[in-house]
Symmetry: C2
Subunit: 466 residues, 2 copies
């Protein structure tokens, strides 16, 4: 006699914290800081604002011998802020967010920021505070808790202040149980790599011991921001087409295909409709279920669409990857590649990669792999990532004259409106064949340059010996 | 100007299929079969029924050159079935299920079966059929689709038949796009390992090439089924306590603690309430938020609770692990260990482990690792699993006289009402310290026996030489 229940998404992540990356007190502190910093960087990017991000972690209770203690975490940014009516749900509801469109952003699930606050609530039983303004006349301050069973915010207090200086931004202020001792090095690594890959951002971190870490801006202009794109027809399924039909303002099928998809011109639209046996003048909202299925099959069969539009992408840039690697490793050799845009399942993406050798790269048998996705450093689950698969299985480093004991670093970066993460914790990327292929081509190009360099070194030493 | 949206859990898993393990057509076929087979085994376990599970995969479209084709998948079991009113939601709603209690079962998220059907729907645009009966007067047949935006079932058809033979069980019948060629070996490995670890089950698989695979029952009795347990106080948080208070029939705080938790007697309850500064006669439903927080802190501080009750656990059993390994590897040496029950964060669990050497184990530098969780074989993400961490970092095999090139297999099994999976796809287990410790102790015990065996072999060969 089975007893059935429905649970809310907040309840799901409360019961299965490990799935979101909040598995222990040190990993949870790392996750909390990164989720909030990524939200702040997204908020600045939307407004094309030079980011100033402030992170302050202070110990709350009296001195403790244990590693796990209660901390207060405050993250403040000068981003576009959140409108008052959306603040409670943005931070108090799981699967609620502004990044569900088809546009490159760090956030994608509508989970992360709320999850950090949920973790704080269940470990310290305190409410959290959100202060935000979009730069208009008022600053709003909310004291909130999360109703986990209902997946709703509980508003305990709401104050409004006049915004005399036209401030815009967001402050997240709450307590959590955490282990800073065992996550400190990962947190500092995350912040410094974030600053390297986002050189226009200012990041300040004050740690519980009162130490000040400053990652200063080295670029005074913002990168070209990503743009919202229309879906590409390749890889589209009936669910997506049905939603486009429900929301479209187009009346007939030809204009629907041309307006709702990228890279579909009049001729292409007519060819696809012919293949689907649909009269082009049919009203798109009157298509039957069978006709929509036939349309999707025809799109799949047609296959001759132009490659996806890539104006939606905002890559890191060869010069910044180069500057960042030089600052960290001061290598003897460095080669950076930006591949042309490609696509997987109709989703555009762009790969950038670099290989560095010598200098201050620590010596060893392993390759130092630095991974980035939508300008986020990925520091965990290395062996599950497609980049690791490529450098360990697809590249024969011996054939590029790389010795067994070496000083070798590889950097990979993917930018896309939809990065295929393997987990909600965003630490490893799925080995989609198209992504694997692009990474392999990019790294091989760098490896060939490395081989030329190592050959010259070899010849030079041979000459010296004679 | 951020545009906010809330999405349903079905929409979340539709957009992020990789998170649920449905990343490509071959992995998706593997996931579909395992999710349905695990549901069938759970359904038989609840009713203490000897499982008869029938899996039939047939190709739907005409011969195709490509690996990815349309298949029809039918999974039939003789389990307890699903009551008519629950069928649509059980299969058509994400986060709806009967396994949210505190009891060992293969299912835990309320996602898997529905996800398999969702994947079928979006790749083939067909409805799916569910036929089920709980053994009573009627058999119910539903034709359903999933409204992904709303996370609700759409009932296209509902027929009822008289149940003349008193049949009980469930049939799941649907189509999906899949790649059998590249998942066949993993599917067969999954079914054979499932049969080994569940020796009382009969599993029949008919593949698209018409081949019949039969994994026959080797045990005519069902194992002792797991029981529902009460939460243990260690590791409880305010959220859990608030829910217990809301649902309790206890009136005062002492009886609340004694009735809602396991291992709390009258003295313990009074001690905890004293530590929390709460009058024992207080009505539990009248406790203030501050008092509930104080109670949770007192429980944490008290710490002297007896170990969790382990009657909720249903381990595999040493004899079946032994029989299974002998059948697969016919090893020269085999040692199996069942640890006493333990707990992590107040959740009971039990570890069983085995080390096998020689015989038909393939030779190599790597150890063959067989992992099981709640009697489910885990075949992916080996390097992310706590068992791999233990055998590669915590056990020095050299010190047990194991040569570099060896024939070595290790089996690990964990049973618990809440297995800390790292992903929704249930392939790797988190390295919770208590679990890591129990695995290390169990494997070391087996390794010590192996060393004795290898020493005897060594001595015997030394004697022969002289
Ligand atoms: N610092 C901030 N400034 C402006 N808006 C914010 C900020 N933090 C959160 N938000 C808003 O709250 C929403 C929810 O944030 P949350 O981190 O939970 O999800 P997300 O960022 O959309 O996705 P992900 O789970 O991948 O992080 C965001 O989409 C954004 O609109
Ligand atoms: N073959 C079956 N026989 C009886 N009940 C079933 C069967 N398949 C599914 N169910 C019911 O449907 C519910 C939902 O199944 P689903 O696989 O989606 O989630 P789950 O098994 O509870 O958790 P998980 O996501 O971990 O598999 C189950 O909890 C069970 O009650
Ligand atoms: Mg976010
Ligand atoms: Mg299931």
């Amino acid at each position: 006699e089975q007893r059935f229940e429905q649970i809310s998404p907040a309840d799901f992540f409360y019961r299965n914290r490990d799935i979101a990356g909040f598995s222990n007190p040190s990993r949870s502190l790392y996750m909390s800081i990164r989720e909030l910093v990524e939200n702040s960087l997204d908020a600045c990017e939307i407004g094309r604002i030079l980011p100033n991000i402030w992170i302050e972690l202070t110990q709350v209770e009296e001195d403790s011998e244990k590693d796990v203690r209660t901390y207060r975490l405050v993250v403040k940014d000068n981003g576009v802020g959140v409108e008052a009516e959306h603040i409670p749900k943005a931070f108090g509801t799981i699967l609620y967010g502004s990044k569900y469109g088809f546009k490159q952003s760090r956030g994608t699930f509508g989970v992360g920021g709320t999850m950090a606050l949920l973790y704080g609530q269940i470990t310290t039983n305190n409410a959290f505070k959100i202060i935000s303004s979009t730069g208009k006349k008022e600053i709003h301050e909310y004291r909130l808790m999360i109703d986990i069973v209902e997946n709703k915010p509980k508003i305990l207090e709401h104050k409004t202040y006049p915004n005399e200086n036209g401030w815009h931004g967001t402050v997240v202020d709450y307590t959590l149980e955490a282990d800073y001792t065992n996550s400190k090095s990962k947190i500092i690594e995350y912040l410094s790599k974030t600053a390297v890959i986002n050189p226009h951002s200012n990041i300040v971190f004050i740690d519980p011991r009162g130490r000040l870490y400053v990652f200063a801006r080295v670029k005074e202009t913002t990168p070209e921001p990503p743009k919202e794109a229309k879906p590409h027809p390749l890889g589209v399924d009936v669910e997506t087409v049905n939603r486009l039909i429900a929301n479209t303002r187009s009346r007939d099928c030809v204009s629907f295909l041309m307006n709702e998809f990228q890279k579909v011109g009049r001729k292409t639209a007519l060819d696809v409709l012919k293949l689907a046996n649909i009269d082009p003048r049919t009203k798109v909202k009157e298509l039957t279920f069978e006709q929509v299925t036939a349309l999707v099959d025809a799109i799949k069969a047609y296959g001759r669409f132009r490659a996806p539009d890539t104006s939606s992408l905002s890559p890191v840039g060869v010069e910044f990857i180069e500057a960042g690697i030089r600052a960290v490793y001061d290598p003897e050799f460095l080669h950076v590649v930006q591949r042309p845009p490609a696509s997987y399942s109709g989703i555009p993406f762009i790969i950038e990669a670099a290989v560095a050798y010598g200098g201050n790269i620590p010596e060893g048998e392993d390759i130092h792999l630095l991974r980035f996705a939508n300008k986020i450093p990925l520091l965990y689950d290395e062996r599950a990532d497609v980049s690791w698969k490529v450098i360990s299985e697809k590249i024969d480093w011996n054939s590029y004259k790389v010795p067994k004991v070496k000083r070798l670093a590889v950097l990979t970066s993917i930018c896309s409106p939809k990065v295929p993460y393997k987990t909600v914790g965003k630490e490893a990327i799925s080995d989609r064949p198209e992504i694997e292929r692009e990474l392999t081509i990019a790294i091989r190009e760098c490896a060939r340059e490395l081989r030329l360099y190592l050959s010259r070194i070899e010849k030079g030493e041979a000459v010296k010996k004679r």
